[in-house]
């Protein structure tokens, strides 16, 4: 699960990632801040999606985790809006394993943890953020590394996330705004929570989505981008100039991602039904606090998709 890295000790990890927010102008600290943020992001997602309660989950806990995710999303959005062109930065930190959790599955595909070797502290991490390609070439199937260094870091999926408690529609709103082909990320989102290592194929191209910004420690604007308040603003299409298809999903069947019904905001569930009812309804499960079942939309038969596509387009 950890890949090449040795088992991380509790203390080491604590020293590297814990602690207060550090000034973003500080190079290595900024990277560790980013690592920490990504770690927390991943953990939050896992908490929301991996939970299979027999009883109703605690609303307080859900609300707090949601707020955490929204806050991180806002930060990412703000940082993304400040720097429209950015290099791929250091890969996000491994989420669960270094923290000593036992047998947690890999976190969502679109925000994959880096392998342990990628999680470097100090100067090494700074190196990592400047030359992410070298790190990304750590060919570890478990950690979904990819070799597309040009992949922009801050991308739709984290912003797509706000896992809603009762409805999916606002998440889809943001998906729609951010990219025209949202089903990919939706599917990624669905695939993510229970994606096991066998989904390394479809999971791998998701890797760059998890890459976070933070490669420009000297950027003075980053100081301001750490928000003092975590107001949730309306999502803006700050990534519309990026072509997600090319960058993210090059290795995946793209026929799935051309589905128009998936980009519409409301009534998604019903519109999805002719396409991939089981799979995508399962992805809606977390929002109705039902147990989440893993869905593997990528594995759908291509001919079946084509057929369904014809039906939809024809109607």
């Amino acid at each position: 699960m950890l890949g090449k890295g040795g088992k991380r000790k509790f203390d080491e990890h604590e020293d590297g990632l814990e602690g207060k927010i550090v000034s973003p102008s500080d190079g290595p600290s900024k990277v560790s801040y980013t690592l920490q943020r990504q770690t927390i992001f991943n953990i939050s997602l896992m908490k929301l999606y991996n939970h299979r309660p027999l009883t109703e989950p605690s609303l307080q806990k859900t609300v707090l985790i949601n707020n955490m995710l929204r806050r991180i999303q806002e930060e990412l959005k703000q940082e993304g809006s400040l720097r429209p062109a950015f290099p791929a930065s250091a890969p996000p930190a491994a989420a669960a394993d270094p923290l000593g959790s036992s047998s947690r599955e890999a976190p969502p595909a679109f925000s994959q943890p880096a392998p342990a070797p990628c999680e470097l502290g100090g100067a090494a991490a700074l190196e990592a953020c400047l030359t992410p390609a070298s790190l990304l070439e750590d060919d570890d199937p478990d950690t979904f590394c990819t070799s597309s260094p040009a992949a922009p870091a801050r991308l739709a999926p984290p912003a797509l996330l706000p896992p809603e408690k009762d409805s999916f529609s606002s998440a889809l709103d943001e998906i729609e705004e951010l990219c025209p082909t949202s089903t990919s990320t939706e599917a990624a989102e669905a695939d993510g929570p229970k994606g096991d290592s066998s989904s390394g194929g479809p999971g791998a191209p998701q890797r760059p989505e998890g890459l976070q910004e933070g490669g420009r420690p000297e950027d003075p604007k980053l100081m301001d981008s750490l928000p003092g308040n975590f107001e949730i603003t309306a999502s803006t299409g700050f990534l519309t100039d990026l072509t997600l298809d090319d960058i993210l999903f090059a290795d995946i069947d793209t026929s799935m991602y051309d589905f128009d019904p998936c980009t519409s905001a409301s009534g998604t569930a019903s519109k999805m039904s002719p396409v991939s009812a089981d799979d995508l309804l399962k992805t809606l499960a977390p929002y109705s606090s039902q147990p989440v079942a893993p869905s593997q939309p990528f594995k759908m038969d291509l001919t079946e998709l084509d057929h369904i596509m014809e039906v939809l387009v024809g109607s």
Binding site: K20, K61, L64, A96, L99, G100, P162
Partner: protein
């Protein structure tokens, strides 16, 4: 089930491994009654166990009255919500005693959805000498009855009878986290994550909603109610705390729906301590009015704070419970410990406050001397009637002999529920499935 309750105080030395603990035995709430004579505990299995303080015996004048099991009953049963296909836990979330108005004792116990009023009565006499029935209750052969007799009451072994008098159901969509009896002794309130209802103790089919923070669109929900309590003296005032660390004091005279607070108590965030987890650790897990009614005590993840009702801007006192955890918040978030809801308690004179922590530690803070102490509630570390030894958690640097290092703290041993006798220095500590009752020795140097 009666025989199981005694295991709480018996030292089962072969059960040291906590993994043998039956989950149903985990104590989920502890509450003294208004005189301190009775102590009620609720557990995850829906049972309530009431302990009674034995009157001080003349034989051993230096040993103050100890608490023995008085009664045990099954308060709540697990239920199933068919609409949502989810179980409703029978775990007792809170117990609150009603002020005693006659020979019987009454208490309210609640799980996530339903509140019940229980009446506890004693029977220590029974009538004997019936004309038509014999001692076992069988009908007598009338031909053997030659004279009439008046039944007389004869003493019998004490029998404690508990009966449910009211069931307040279907008042809450979300999980009930608090109940509080009003000082008018007629009404009480119950709070769930988004709403607070006012009930009359005698009316079960109707309740009034007095606070509703549910947003029109649930996606906009960012804050929930975490605890609430009536003012001890003013029957129109109550306070509720939120997951964002704010307290709202509401006056029921102002409006029927008290969404608009009369006072908002909120401490501005300390920018130097800001982290990803600032909001989560600021979530108030418990709020308690002082006995005087002048102050409020709140517990968030790392601190306890004393608020003056006259000052909304910030608490007047802040005590660090386990600040050494501040650097471990990420891990605590990952293993969910950061969501643990610790309770807090005042002593009878409002001079000392107490709260629980991890590793079966609990902390007490003297507001006057500003001294604090950390104590441990465990069988291994203390023999019965031995004075508790103060513990210390070392955070690096110099380490004394008996110090515990932060990394060796057991986060599964958490003391969430504590209670302080209303008048004396007797405290009840719930450590997982064990209940510890500590009494203050007159010659101890603790307080």
């Amino acid at each position: 089930m009666g025989e199981d309750t005694d295991t709480r105080k018996i030292n089962h030395s072969f059960l040291r491994d906590h993994s043998y603990v039956t989950e149903a035995d985990i104590i989920s709430t502890v509450e003294f009654n208004h005189t301190g004579e009775l102590l009620a505990t609720g557990d995850k299995g829906g049972r309530v166990v009431i302990f009674q303080r034995e009157p001080e015996s003349k034989n051993a004048p230096h040993s103050q009255g100890e608490y023995d099991v008085y009664s045990t009953f099954q308060s709540h049963e697990p239920e199933f919500d068919y609409l949502k296909s989810l179980e409703i836990e029978e775990k007792i979330n809170k117990i609150k005693w009603l002020p005693q108005q006659n020979a019987a004792h009454s208490l309210l116990s609640t799980n996530d959805k339903t509140i019940k009023l229980w009446k506890i009565t004693e029977r220590d006499k029974r009538p004997e000498g019936y004309n038509l029935k014999d001692e076992e209750g069988k009908l007598k052969d009338l031909s053997t009855v030659t004279s009439l007799q008046v039944p007389v009451l004869k003493p019998m072994d004490l029998m404690v009878e508990v009966s449910p008098r009211r069931v307040f159901a279907n008042g809450h969509t979300y999980h009930i986290n608090s109940i509080s009896v009003n000082s008018d002794c007629e009404t009480y309130m119950s709070a769930d994550d988004l709403r607070i209802n006012l009930w009359h103790l005698a009316i079960t089919d109707r309740s009034f909603n007095i606070v509703d923070i549910k947003p029109a669109n649930m996606e906009d929900l960012t804050e929930v109610i975490t605890a609430s309590e009536f003012h001890p003296h003013h029957c129109n005032l109550f306070v509720y705390s939120s997951s964002k660390g704010s307290l709202r004091l509401c006056d029921m005279r102002a409006a029927a729906l008290c969404d608009k607070h009369s006072k908002l108590f909120e401490e501005p965030e300390d920018p130097s301590n800001r982290s990803f987890f600032s909001e989560i650790i600021s979530s108030v897990s418990d709020v308690k009015f002082s006995h005087s009614g002048r102050y409020m005590l709140t517990r968030d993840y790392l601190t306890v704070k004393v608020w003056d009702l006259n000052m909304e801007a910030r608490p007047i006192e802040t005590y660090q419970v386990h600040d050494y955890l501040r650097s471990k918040l990420c891990s605590l978030y990952e293993n969910d410990c950061i969501f643990d809801k610790f309770e807090c308690a005042w002593n009878g004179s409002d001079s000392v406050i107490m709260t629980g922590a991890y590793n079966n530690f609990f902390r007490m803070f003297d507001r006057n001397t500003k001294r604090d102490v950390t104590l441990e509630a465990s069988r291994e570390s203390s023999k019965p009637r031995a004075v508790l030894k103060p513990r210390r958690v070392c955070v690096g640097g110099k380490r004394r002999r008996d110090d515990i290092s932060v990394d060796s703290l057991d986060f599964t041993k958490k003391i969430l529920h504590t209670a302080w006798h209303p008048a004396e220095n007797i405290i009840a500590i719930a450590a997982t499935n064990n209940l510890y009752i500590f009494q203050d020795k007159v010659n101890s140097d603790m307080h």
